[in-house]
């Protein structure tokens, strides 16, 4: 079975631009979460989506938004890019069906490496 797939793998943008990152969950998983991982740090929670609805949001500015599609794939959008947005963006899917969130393991994709010049 395919794992979590993310695209693109690498992306270079300049300050002020907009970016869209994509994620396909493991087949059968309806929950997708997005994380930002800065070099040398642990993943930081951005969003969780379940059944196309936002179920959780981390401490990130409104420049960050996401959505989930009927096939449970997801997009993360970041507007007005800043140098500090340079990071590895990880998507994780799980067989979450209700709180608490952490009854189920998160299965991570390989991430999108975003570099802002």
């Amino acid at each position: 079975d395919a794992g979590v797939t993310q695209s693109p793998t690498h992306l270079i943008k300049t300050r002020g631009q907009h970016v869209t990152l994509r994620c396909s969950p493991i087949s059968g998983h309806k929950s997708v979460s997005w994380y930002q991982q800065v070099l040398g740090q642990g993943p930081q929670f951005i969003f969780q989506y379940y059944e196309k609805e936002e179920r959780g949001r981390g401490n990130f500015p409104d420049r960050f938004s996401a959505r989930q599609f009927p096939n449970y794939s997801s997009e993360l959008n970041v507007n007005a890019l800043l140098l500090g947005d340079s990071a590895l963006y990880l998507c994780a899917s799980s067989s979450f069906t209700g709180y608490p969130i952490s009854n189920q393991p998160q299965h991570f994709g390989d991430g999108t490496r975003l570099s802002i010049l």
């Binding site: 642990g42 993943p43 981390g58 969130i101 009854n103 393991p105 998160q106 991570f108």
Partner: protein, 116 residues
């Protein structure tokens, strides 16, 4: 609130044991453990739910003391393949206050290096 991991780094020879600790200032519902190798995605190791349980996975086991809000990961008879960065992720209890319920908050990681 981010859990605190200790030590920040540990170097072992094959066959040696190691313990990685994870502490939170808030009451916890659960602790997750993941391992991430350089340039790769974090890989799930185990979940511990409140109740003081201990789990094992091959020669890797973990404990969770909910009263102390601490978890420890035990790696015995380490192998070269154990090298990587280990992260604990915590979910706060519903009555812990704040916004830690409903999301995983990861520690800063512990870098484990195993030499032949």
């Amino acid at each position: 609130q981010q859990p605190v991991q200790s030590p920040q780094a540990v170097i072992l020879r094959e066959g040696e044991d190691a313990v990685i600790n994870c502490s939170s200032s808030k009451a916890l519902y659960s602790v997750h453990w993941y391992r991430q190798k350089h340039g790769e995605a974090p890989v799930f190791l185990m979940i511990l739910l409140k109740g003081g349980e201990q789990k094992g996975h091959d020669k890797i086991s973990a404990s969770f003391n909910e009263k102390k809000q601490q978890s420890s990961l035990y790696l015995t008879a380490s192998q070269l393949s154990y090298s990587g960065t280990y992260f604990c992720g915590t979910e706060g209890s519903r009555n812990a206050g704040g916004t830690s319920y409903g999301k995983l908050t990861f520690g800063q990681g512990t870098i484990l290096t195993v030499h032949p």
